[in-house]
């Protein structure tokens, strides 16, 4: 045990916080963990563990600010005071009386550090639940209790930070790596991951080794647990290119191994995906009812159909647009999303000539204004999702619970906001429904950035409803949301509030002062403004103080230039034969 100083007597020492005077050559920094032993004859020995959350140096013997010049000039004697404020994290045994001023203070290392951060409590009857999440400032491994992440005692992770420097995505992927491959998560091989790639193409190289990975970084992975390798089992899905007949994934930097995803009209109708095109259902009160009604109608219409096109029998020949054709049974074949929109327009508003009305079984007695508003919105969505919902070939929607791959990366970066909403909403609601029906046993981790877009604080949307569902009931079903956003203050409170693990990267100064970050002590809030890349602040329920965590450089490529090409003969043979 390295003695670092003594408890100060000039300021009050309390059982929950006290000041330490650093002696001699001692070094005490923010986030260092210390331990103090107290004694009382009636209680016996008590140990106080704490974390330094404020350090200061001052000259004693100066009465004026300008005295420092005299001290520097060697004209007055001064002594240097080096003090630190300690927030107590734990008292063993729990006897809340203050330590004596003058008690020696030691650095907490090894076992003591584990006690200070409750590592000893991170276990269940089957073994340890300590999930490595990076390194503390003093070089020791930082852990979090897996039971607060995987849904046993708590679930969900929320990551905040400004874009570009906060490394939200990097940390989320590192966390996944640790979850899947550090051997702490039970039945990790059964876990599935759904990763949404929302900007650029950074997540499209998760399965490629990073050529900038240094030997030191590899060493760090070995110390933490997960191997310094890229993700082994990944499936990449991207939206199809717009226009053209073929279905080619719309990606630029990655040329192989990416498949295009889309829904066909029958899937669209059967799964009831229509509401996810209406992200502003709060705008008109009645619109929501109408959307629900039409969704239900479409569901019935698609019953028994195989697709990919949707067949309808109640669209008279006189009203058909030019390119829509009858099939041999006299039914109209809807071969594209615009066809579907026209059909709905006919059913709701009647013939284009304006004479007559819509089908009363479809309109559900809604006023014409509502019907028109509905159709207007639907028409404007054609441009956004026309290439994602098709009637010309069998659908291939992403399904993280299908196929052999463990990680499913779904690219949204090139989609319009409405289409992004549509994809996220459709996938999550589908996933959640399957888990509710018990179709998949393993845990599913969903990584979604830009939460403030999908679950905004003061708007209503069907996607928000799905996310709220996941946030509030997901952990019992084994659906864990790893959500990220630039500003937690703009995300629905219940989504953020349900996350047991909170992570903060670099924050914007105004954002850091918002109440959403009040759980961080002042010193951490101040530091959130200057966090370098590769550092995050992590808060978990069991430990009363947040941890400043440094995580290793990604072992997987995050862009084309970082890919370490495998030019061995074996690899080339695989590629050609």
């Amino acid at each position: 045990m390295e003695r670092i100083g003594v408890v100060l007597g000039r300021r009050e020492a309390t059982p929950l916080e006290f000041w330490v005077g650093v002696e001699g050559e001692g070094l005490l920094r923010l986030d260092d963990l210390v331990v103090v032993e107290g004694f009382h004859p009636k209680v016996g020995k008590v140990r106080y563990f704490g974390m330094v959350d404020l350090v200061a140096k001052a000259h004693e013997g100066e009465r004026f600010d300008t005295d420092v010049f005299l001290a520097v000039g060697g004209k007055i004697p001064v002594s240097l005071a080096y003090v630190a404020h300690v927030s107590v994290t734990r008292i063993v045994p729990e006897e809340f009386f203050p330590p004596d001023p003058g008690s020696p203070v030691y650095l907490a290392r090894g076992e003591d550090l584990g006690l200070a951060l409750y590592y000893d409590a991170m276990k269940n009857q089957r073994g340890s639940t300590r999930l490595p999440v990076g390194f503390l400032k003093n070089g020791e491994v930082a852990y979090l209790n897996l039971e607060f992440l995987n849904g046993v005692k708590g679930g969900h992770v929320n990551i905040s930070g400004i874009s570009g420097v906060a490394a939200k995505t990097s940390y989320a992927t590192f966390l996944l790596k640790s979850l899947l491959e550090s051997g702490v998560l039970e039945e990790a091989h059964q876990a599935r991951v759904l990763l949404f790639n929302v900007k650029g193409e950074d997540l499209l190289f998760l399965d490629k080794p990073n050529l900038r990975l240094s030997e030191e970084a590899k060493e760090e992975y070995h110390r933490l647990g997960p191997p310094p390798t890229p993700f082994g089992s990944v499936r990449f899905l991207a939206p199809p290119k717009k226009g053209g007949e073929g279905i080619l994934p719309d990606v630029e930097t990655r040329l192989e191994g990416v498949k295009a995803y889309h829904w066909d009209l029958v899937q669209f109708a059967k799964k009831g995906l229509l509401p996810f095109l209406f992200t502003d259902k709060g705008a008109l009160t009645n619109l929501g009812f109408l959307v629900a009604q039409v969704t239900e109608k479409l569901r019935r219409l698609a019953e028994g159909q195989k697709g990919p096109h949707l067949l309808v029998a109640d669209w008279p020949a006189g009203e058909l647009p030019e390119e829509v054709t009858f099939d041999d049974l006299g039914r109209v074949r809807l071969k594209s999303f615009p066809d579907l929109v026209r059909y709905l327009e006919y059913k709701l508003l009647g013939p284009e000539t304006g004479e007559g009305e819509g089908d009363k079984t479809w309109t559900a007695r809604q006023a014409r204004g509502t019907l028109e508003a509905f159709i207007r919105r639907l028409r404007s969505s054609v441009e956004n999702v026309g290439h994602l919902v098709r009637g010309d070939r069998k659908g291939n929607p992403p399904d993280p619970l299908e196929g052999g791959e463990q990680v499913h990366v779904v690219d949204l970066a090139k989609l319009s906001p409405q289409a992004q909403m549509f994809v996220v909403g459709s996938l999550l609601s589908d996933l959640f429904a399957k888990k509710e029906r018990g179709q998949y046993r393993g845990r599913v981790f969903v990584v979604l950035d830009e939460l403030n877009k999908y679950a905004p604080r003061d708007e209503e949307s069907p996607i928000k409803d799905v996310l709220l569902d996941i946030a509030e009931r997901g952990r019992s079903l084994g659906v864990i949301l790893i959500g990220a956003q630039q500003t937690a203050s703009e995300v629905e409170r219940r989504v953020v509030g349900n996350a047991a693990i909170r992570v903060v990267g670099r924050l914007d100064a105004a954002e850091a002062e918002r109440p959403e970050y009040r759980y961080l002590p002042t010193s951490f809030r101040q530091r959130a403004l200057i966090l370098p890349q590769g550092m995050v602040i992590l808060h978990q329920p069991e430990i009363p103080v947040p941890l400043l965590v440094r995580f290793p450089f990604p072992a997987w490529a995050t862009k084309r230039e970082e890919v370490l090409e495998d030019n061995s003969a074996e690899a080339l043979r695989r590629e050609f034969f």
């Binding site: 013997g61 009465r63 005299l70 001290a71 060697g74 004209k75 007055i76 004697p77 001064v78 002594s79």
Partner: protein, 309 residues
């Protein structure tokens, strides 16, 4: 022996920087510096400047403090409990460092040590008259002597370099000593020579002259300290009288004093006794006051153990 607390303060006898007036305003005997026996050591009698010289190292400043803590009585006599402290700062390698100060608690008039809680007052016999008129003065004089004794003991341990003491030079020492006197009660110069004092500019000194005291032969000179704002000021302000035993290279010491004292003069904004109360000594005094302990805490301990009178 049952002592009771008589009073905690001698308010009418205490001024700022106790002992200050006493050290500067010693009542001179006839043999001391006196206009009549004026003997200059340098000619001609005019203001002198000197080129700046580096300070010698180590450079020591020694000072002491005393504090009356209580008057106690056992019904027959009064005893003064006080605290004396002496400390030194040393200038070396461009920084002023504090040396470990010495602090003693003494009971003037006690015959055996008095233990009160954590405090121990060492006995110090009372000298001089015991008349009720002079008793307080005698008690205070005892305390002052205790302080001087402590200072001299401390100064005796400092070897090499130059020693600067606050007040007249009384101790004998190997190596150079400078004493400086802040307040001037006694006149050392005849009137025609004294006319030079108001004309001294900051950083100038008078020529040296001889002073005799208690069998000691000393060289002394006046110098003017800088005192912002410069310009109009009474002729007495910023004057320091410096003395050193009549041995060694006196001229060099006198010239060195012009590099030393003006540079260490305090600023009136920060010290009511500026500029004569030198910076390191001011710092040292504050440190000594701290080491004497909180007056309030001491008073409480005394009151707890001795109660009232």
């Amino acid at each position: 022996m049952a002592w009771r607390l008589y009073a905690l303060e001698l308010s009418h006898l205490e001024g700022p920087g106790s002992g200050e007036a006493l050290s500067g305003a010693t009542v001179w005997g006839a043999e001391e510096g006196h206009p009549a026996s004026f003997h200059p050591l340098e000619e001609p009698w005019e203001a002198r400047r000197a080129r700046p010289v580096p300070w010698p190292e180590p450079l020591y400043f020694v000072d002491g403090r005393e504090r009356v803590e209580a008057l106690i009585s056992d019904g027959r006599r009064l005893v003064l409990l006080g605290c004396v402290a002496a400390g030194a700062v040393v200038f070396a390698q461009g920084a002023m460092r504090l040396l470990e100060p010495r602090v003693r608690r003494v009971g003037v008039g006690l015959e055996e040590a008095l233990h009160l809680g954590d405090l121990v007052y060492e006995p110090l016999p009372l000298e001089g008259s015991k008349g009720p008129e002079d008793l307080l003065t005698a008690l205070q004089e005892g305390l002052r002597r205790a302080r001087a004794h402590l200072e001299e003991g401390l100064a005796g341990t400092l070897t090499g370099g130059l020693l600067v003491v606050d007040g007249p030079v009384r101790l004998r020492r190997e190596g150079p000593v400078l004493g400086y006197i802040k307040t001037h009660w006694a006149h050392y110069l005849p009137e025609d020579k004294e006319a030079l004092l108001p004309l001294l500019k900051p950083g100038e000194r008078t020529p040296m002259f001889r002073v005799r005291r208690e069998g000691q032969e000393l060289a002394s000179w006046y110098l003017r300290l800088p005192l912002p704002p410069e310009g109009v000021r009474p002729p007495e302000s910023g004057l320091l009288r410096v003395e050193t035993p009549l041995q060694g290279d006196l001229g060099a010491l006198a010239d060195l004093s012009l590099s030393l004292f003006p540079a260490l003069a305090s600023h009136p904004v920060k010290d009511p006794r500026a500029p004569q109360n030198l910076l390191p000594v001011g710092g040292l005094e504050r440190e000594l006051a701290r080491r004497m302990g909180s007056r309030e805490v001491v008073a409480r301990i005394l009151a707890r153990h001795l109660g009232g009178g």
